[in-house]
């Protein structure tokens, strides 16, 4: 008996609380930049694809929904194709953590519903954005030893000029 009255009383009190319901989709909720929603591929500060097709995101993915193929152009590695099956993705963010280049990032967008499941398969052109995403300055090739157009051997951070192997000096 007391329990019932208490319940009714608590429910009555809710009349004076602030509303939790939001008129979505007219009003969008705030999501922090760290929210784990739709996955994108970003570009480095020079506007080149950041992804080097190292396959680490695919290996980290617990549901195995990332598939890609390495390609190479002028010494730069890039994904020939990159597909994510979002109908499997659990938005755990492991791929982002595994990525050595900050290429793959989760974004605060969750509005991805589709009527046809096949449409949840995103290809590289659906994933690749034109900016750097959350990490504006990082460029993997500036710290890696590979020579690419515009960055020769010895020009990465903390690199000495290439050795002249014909020099006789020790």
């Amino acid at each position: 008996m007391i329990g019932i009255i208490r319940t009714l009383w608590l429910t009555f009190l809710h009349l004076f609380h602030k509303n939790d319901t939001v008129p979505y989709p007219e009003t969008k909720p705030y999501l922090s930049p760290r929210y784990r929603g739709r996955i994108i591929l970003s570009r480095d500060p020079n506007g080149e694809e950041r992804c080097v097709a190292c396959n680490l995101c695919a290996a980290a993915c617990p549901v195995d929904c990332i598939s890609l193929q390495k390609g190479e152009k002028d010494g730069r590695w890039y994904p020939e194709f990159f597909q994510i099956n979002f109908s499997r993705c659990i938005f755990c963010g492991f791929c982002e953590e595994a990525c050595p280049t900050y290429a793959i990032q989760l974004t605060p967008d969750f509005e991805m519903s589709e009527y046809v499941r096949q449409n949840l398969v995103y290809e590289k052109q659906d994933l690749l954005i034109s900016g750097t995403g959350k990490y504006p300055d990082y460029s993997f090739y500036n710290v890696s030893g590979l020579a690419i157009p515009g960055k020769d051997k010895g020009e990465a951070e903390r690199e000495a000029a290439p050795i002249d192997i014909h020099a006789l000096l020790p």
Binding site: C61, S87, P100, S144
Partner: protein, 898 residues
């Protein structure tokens, strides 16, 4: 046997081992870089440090390099000693100071020995804050990619390339931090074993350039054990696949055959399986044009052909035993051809015959390495069976090992053994028409025409055993050479004679057989090795069949209704006009093959066969060892393994009672039942039912990625993976895996903490010994029990070679890259193959016109003064497709024509 104590635990070790081997064999993890099980120790990297104590009372101990310290009875060492651990941690930290931040873009990543060892030592954070040294890379040709920044100066590359494989064009340059491992200048690596650098180098300096084009991480690929299809050595390989394409070939250890190394033809030859030349649809010739038809239609079409006269089957030395046997069953033994024209047919059968009747031992490659005198007679084994050539090179080191033993230097002490052994070289004697790639380690080379070489061989046999026929009319020079060879062979403990079919001469093989037999008579445990033209030549020879010439005769007499050709390219065996005649005289022509050949246009039915990467089967190598290969990729669309097509043919003509095979095991069992010589082929590998610890062995790693995405562009719905036909392996990541699996079933090497191929150490009973799970293949031909008598010596001695005016004896040159049929279709091999030239001695013309089979060919000439007069070399099967045996050709120089 010695007992050593590792961290307080007693372990048995073999005699003469070093501590590193002993520790690894005991199953303890100890990082190392410069030691290699086949190359020995040099102590260059300082990574394998352990603490050694003088006795139970010694509490201080001292740091030693495990790879440079013999494991002596009672030795007490500690791997986990804090000081030793700290030492190893510092070593790897130094090695890493200059290492680039490259793993994500490094082909070695995920199977990198340096990664593994860095993790093993526990080095995580970089403290070095100064500049890294950098290097420029070189273009090393189509096979090997170079990224010098990643080098840790372990010296393994040059030790393999120069010391082991005899290469000259890779060296160490500069000093200390600046060390550079490369060529004097950019250019293709000349050694045909350069591809092994990929596996020998513990880092990503040398990586696979072809693989990089369709790169995939090791953990992402399906693997399957395979056997190299590109020569008669039958090296064991692992083939990797992802998403339906074959990605790469790597070495699969077989302690008796190829052990740690492959040749580049074998490593890069698989390219044909992905090439555009693959046949992928069923074609039927309707009004002179091929139309794609359903498989069933083609099979019922065959049934109508079969009613139109006798069916003749042409098998092939590059097809599996199962395919040849299915064809033989379908058409009957009397209508089955080996797919070889004379002289190759007769020579191949003769080789099998010799090996079955010789009293000498037929050596495995590992046996070859143990021989202490080698006579190579009339065969350039380095180009016809490259891996055998590499083993023969190792045989020349035998004396230096004995010298080391005398001086009580352990054999693994590589630098000392080589340094002290410089003047102790076991004799390699080479008698060929021209210079070979092994001449640099030979003590004697003799260049002559095939007949003269055979005479030399018979003379050697006579000198060893008087009962062997004497050779009349030898020159004094020849007698001296024969004497030297006989003397060297008799002085040896384990002499080896190598010959083969290259020069199309039965006399040469007979001479080699006579020498081996004579040595046996003199009480020497001689070995005889005969090189055959193709991967399964021995299998076909043991099966037997008609020669193509006999088939041509039958066709001429109108005795052929339908000709079925299984995986053979007749244009490589018969001259163009003979092919024309044959095809003109048969009513129907059915071709089953996986790659296009010039004949495809003419076939009424073309059925797509599965290449060995897509099918399972057995091949018999030159020593008579049956070895199983398993499919790594699913056959695409209507593609079927050839024997299934033939089985369906049999069914369509009501012969299914004899050929109602469902699985590979059924065919294997049928062969073993019917042909006694193959009675044991079932033992080549476990059957399809094989389970390891109650499950099938998985052919994908536990960390294969993209399972729910890799097909999602086709359909987002997950499809179960079908079982892999004819394989005991599970096609997915589900299944069992252990280091004690049978050697014939290893899909990839992995052990906890060991992601690179160095994890092989964990799979062996002892380092360099047999696999824990056994199965090195099964030897079908063994030293004959038949008693040898001098009546068995061949008395068929050829006459002295006499040059002819106006014509020249054109000999078939065997090229490592370009001569073999399937590998020549691989883009990488085609890129590496050099253009065909006529090699001739003397200051001759730059171009000649040869008349061969009535056709005039204008060909460039390369001067080669190692050839005797009257002889010329031209690559077999290259521009002159059917050219594979010596032939007299009339010769006109371009100048003479003008």
């Amino acid at each position: 046997m010695a007992t050593i104590h590792i961290d307080g635990e007693p372990h048995e070790t073999r005699d003469g081992e070093n501590l590193l081997q002993a520790v690894l064999e005991a199953g303890v993890d100890l990082p190392y870089f410069c030691w290699h099980p086949e190359l020995g120790s040099v102590g260059a990297c300082r990574q394998c440090a352990v603490k050694q104590f003088n006795g139970p009372d010694d509490k201080r101990g001292r740091i030693v390099m495990a790879c440079m310290t013999p494991a002596t009875e009672g030795a007490i060492i500690s791997v986990s000693d804090p000081e030793a651990k700290e030492f190893r941690g510092e070593v790897v930290e130094w090695l890493m100071t200059n290492h680039p931040h490259d793993c994500p873009v490094c082909e070695e990543g995920g199977e990198c020995h340096l990664q593994d060892m860095t993790v093993m030592t526990g080095h995580r954070a970089r403290r070095y804050r100064f500049e890294k040294r950098t290097h420029r890379n070189q273009d090393l040709g189509p096979f090997v990619k170079h990224e010098m920044n990643r080098c840790i100066s372990c010296y393994r590359c040059v030790r393999f390339y120069r010391d082991y494989a005899g290469g000259q064009d890779l060296a160490a340059f500069a000093s200390h931090n600046n060390m550079y491992f490369g060529r004097a200048e950019s250019g293709t690596l000349e050694s045909p074993f350069a591809g092994n650098l990929i596996e020998v180098c513990p880092t990503g300096v040398f990586t696979d350039k072809q693989f990089s084009k369709t790169y995939s991480r090791k953990w992402d690929m399906r693997g399957a054990p395979s056997v190299c299809a590109h020569c008669s050595v039958g090296c064991n390989t692992i083939v990797n696949e992802r998403a339906g394409t074959v990605r790469r070939t790597i070495n699969r250890y077989n302690d008796e055959v190829n052990r740690y190394f492959l040749c580049d033809r074998g490593r890069y030859g698989h390219g044909y399986a992905n090439a555009d030349t693959r046949i992928r649809v069923v074609g039927q010739l309707i009004d002179g044009v091929h139309h794609q038809v359903p498989s069933q239609a083609a099979i019922s079409h065959f049934a109508t052909f079969a009613e139109d006269g006798p069916v003749i089957g042409i098998g092939s030395a590059r097809a599996s035993l199962e395919t040849n046997y299915a064809l033989r069953s379908l058409v009957g033994a009397a209508q089955f051809s080996t797919g070889l024209a004379e002289p190759a047919h007769g020579l191949t059968l003769l080789a099998a015959d010799i090996l079955r009747t010789t009293p000498a031992h037929t050596p495995s490659l590992h046996d070859v390495e143990q021989c202490d005198a080698v006579f190579m007679l009339g065969e350039d084994a380095l180009s016809t069976a490259p891996r055998l050539g590499l083993s023969m090179r190792q045989a020349t080191r035998h004396a230096s090992f004995l010298n080391a033993d005398r001086n009580r230097i352990p054999r693994w002490m590589d630098a000392s053994v080589r340094m002290m052994g410089q003047d102790f070289i076991s004799p390699l004697m080479i008698a060929t028409p021209a210079a070979t790639g092994l001449d640099d380690c030979a003590v004697l080379t003799q260049h002559a025409a095939p007949d003269d070489l055979a005479r030399l061989g018979f003379a050697v046999a006579h000198l060893i055993d008087e009962a062997a026929p004497a050779v009349p009319g030898l020159t004094e020079a020849e007698s001296t050479v024969a004497g030297r060879i006989a003397e060297a062979l008799l002085a040896a403990d384990k002499p080896l004679v190598v010959s083969g079919t290259q020069l199309g001469s039965a006399a040469l093989m007979q001479a080699a057989a006579s020498i081996a037999a004579a040595l046996m008579v003199r009480g020497k445990p001689a070995a005889l090795s005969l090189v055959l033209p193709d991967a399964n030549s021995m299998g076909v020879a043991l099966m037997g069949g008609l020669s193509l010439d006999a088939v041509c005769d039958m066709a001429r007499d109108g005795k052929v209704g339908t000709l079925i050709v299984a995986e053979a390219d007749l244009t490589r065996q018969l001259a163009p006009e003979r092919v024309e005649a044959l095809l003109g005289q048969v009513r129907h022509f059915v071709l089953i093959d996986h790659s296009e050949s010039p004949l495809i246009e003419r076939a009424e039915l073309v059925l797509p066969a599965a290449p060995i990467t897509h099918s399972g089967g057995t091949m018999v190598n030159m020593e008579g060892r049956a070895q199983r290969f398993l499919p790594v990729a699913f056959p695409e669309g209507p593609v079927e393994v050839s024997w299934r097509w033939l089985r369906d043919f049999a069914e369509s003509i009501g012969q299914d009672d004899r050929m109602a095979w469902q699985t590979l095991d059924d065919v294997v069992a049928a062969i073993a039942r019917e042909l006694t010589v193959f009675a044991r082929i079932g033992e080549a590998a476990p059957s399809e039912q094989y389970m390891l610890e109650s499950g099938h062995i998985r052919s994908q790693t536990a960390r294969v990625s993209g399972r729910t995405a890799i097909r999602s562009h086709i359909s987002v719905r997950d499809q179960p993976v079908p079982p892999m036909p004819d394989s005991p392996l599970s096609p997915t990541m589900e299944g069992t895996y252990s280091t004690s699996m049978p050697g014939a079933l290893v899909p990839y090497y992995h052990a906890p903490g060991w992601n690179s191929e160095q994890s092989l150490n964990r799979f062996q009973q002892e380092i360099g010994g047999p696999m824990r799970g056994g199965y090195p293949g099964v030897r079908l031909v063994d030293a004959a029990e038949a008693v040898w008598s001098s009546a068995h010596y061949s008395t068929d001695l050829p006459e002295t070679f006499a040059p002819r005016d106006g014509s020249i004896l054109l000999l078939p040159e065997s090229r490592i890259f370009g001569s073999e049929e399937l590998s020549a279709l691989a883009p990488a091999i085609a890129e590496r193959a050099e253009p065909a030239v006529v090699r001739m001695a003397g200051d001759g013309p730059s171009e000649v016109t040869l008349t061969l089979d009535g056709i005039r060919h204008r060909l460039p000439v390369l001067r080669d003064d190692s050839l005797p007069p009257g002889l010329a070399f031209y690559p077999a099967h290259m521009t002159l497709r059917a050219f594979a045996a010596p032939v007299w050709v009339s010769l006109e120089t371009a100048e003479a024509l003008a």
